[in-house]
Amino acid sequence: MNVSRLLLGVFGIVVAGVFFFDASDYPRAAAQMPMIYAVAVGLLSLAMVASELRLQRRAPATGGSAAEPADREADEAPPAPKRWAAVVTIFLLAVGYVASMTTLGYVLATALFMTLALAILRTVKWSFALIAGAVLIAMVCLVFVQFLGLPIPLLPSFL
């Protein structure tokens, strides 16, 4: 059973319910399509939840047949572990980066984000990160700020 799918199905039911009940207060013309779409999403989400629960009920019955491929896989090298902590931390860093962009300025905020994120990952040489990071920031400033005229402060607001 895929827990993400099960939770997505539950989420879909909740979203469909919220849209449906919210739409019931709208005038008829405004309510029609949201209600139709909400019913469709609700039914499909229910179907997704039902199919995952059915798979979970079938899984113990097929447990024996999984033993043979597992024995074969034991001889192969184990896959590298997933870096969930890095994913969560860097995503939160990205949120912080967005929040601090207008206070710290684009250049400083981006440099800080890239430095902290690459320090967490520890898979990139510092010399490469320094040069490539500087090139990236320069190119973004040139294209988005200079060329497109994006109204974003480059330097900190307290300077």
């Binding site: 979203v15 013309a29 997933k82 684009y106 988005f144």
Partner: protein, 502 residues
Amino acid sequence: MDSSLVMIGLTNVLSFNNIACILGGTLLGLFVGAMPGLSATMALALLLPLTFSFDPATGLSMLASLYVGASYGGSIAAILLRTPGTPSAAATVLDGFPLSQQGKAGQALGISLFASFFGGLMSGIALLTAAPLLGTLVLEFGPVELFAIAVLGITIIGSLAQGSVISGLLSGGLGLLLSTVGMDLTTGTPRMTFDQINLFAGIDFTVALIGLFSVPQALTLIENSHRGNKVASRITDRLMPRWSTIKQLMPNILRSSGIGIVVGLIPGTGGDTASWFAYNEAKRFAKDKSRFGKGEIAGVAAPEAANNAVVGGALIPTIALGIPGSSSTAILLGALMVQGILPGPNLLTDYGDVTYTLIWAVILANIALLVVGLAFTKMSVSVTKIPDGFIACAILTLCIIGAFAINNSLFDVGLMLGFGLFGYWMSKAGVSPAPMVIGLILGPVMETSFQQSMLIGNDSFGVFLESPIATVLLILALLSILQATPFFRWLRLPLKRRLKQS
């Protein structure tokens, strides 16, 4: 076909600015496609905000060229790194990597380039001839037929998308639901805005696009990032293939290009389906099938011709019907919308100059691909060695600045990150985000045509059955859903038994 609009489109695309953008877009697409972990769709999503300040012809030319460049670029990593740079280059690995191990990386890349060129050129010509023919048919369509086409588009894309049919349709349904957020144009009622003024105009399609396609890729690269350098095979032989080799492979290339065009026509299928289909057919027609998988050059030519031919094929329903055939063509449609050009059958009439410019840009991009590919393929090898961790962080910074560039709003950036997190959740659940993006585009079209149809039919749903075209389209939509359910299997079993008995 209106020949004056065709010539206007050609004239538009032949300006110095547009040719520079085509060359630049193709080169950028080449590099992006060559990097494993990145996709053409992601690059198009990131580049879209940049094109806002360009005129429509220039912006579309750049996006179309990037799409064409990335379709070939994926083969570079497939041949040298044994990792497809884009999903549509997966079949190229089977024979491309063994060829590079035999010291024939140049030969493989050269044939990949020429096959991509021929495939893309053929599909561009098909687009130029077929789209207007389909477009004249579609001029007969009214709101009822438009609604039925939009329903068919969503159901086909949902049922053929990666993962199960339920996942695809749920993704499409969520997109349609989210498209209702904002002020209803008929009654002025704010819908699901939570009193947030930033949501009164609805959810910007580009914000959702960047979030759903780019952020999950960055997070997945982070998830799988570990120490260790990527080891790429070196190119020690000549890139330019011999004319005798190209002549020998031409029947294979022509057949694979045809497969790519037809597969591209079907909404929901893309380069990956076309490349595997073409590879299988190349093997079936080969005199010595045992050589496939061990470095058979035809095994490189077939998928590469097909995956580039998909570009033009997928644009045919996009331009003729306003129904995007894939997530990449959805972005091209989004680029048109950003310029104030609404999707629909009138793309070839009311906005014919811009649409024909896009068609000619696709054709010229394939010529640019040949030039850029011969000049820069060897250079793109170094691009494949950029660490995944750095690419992931660079994608996140580009997503953030790209989302900000849309409306100069930090709210949009926050919304983009929210979609990004949701897209990552969807990838873990095995649900494709492509139907969701297409739902966001088709939602307003469906709602407007539905309301107009209800007015025509005096609030009776029977109006959809009064039009034979709409009835047929809606039946096809129902069949596309049912074909993947147990219901069809229950119908097929007694039929199979009867055939066996007879």
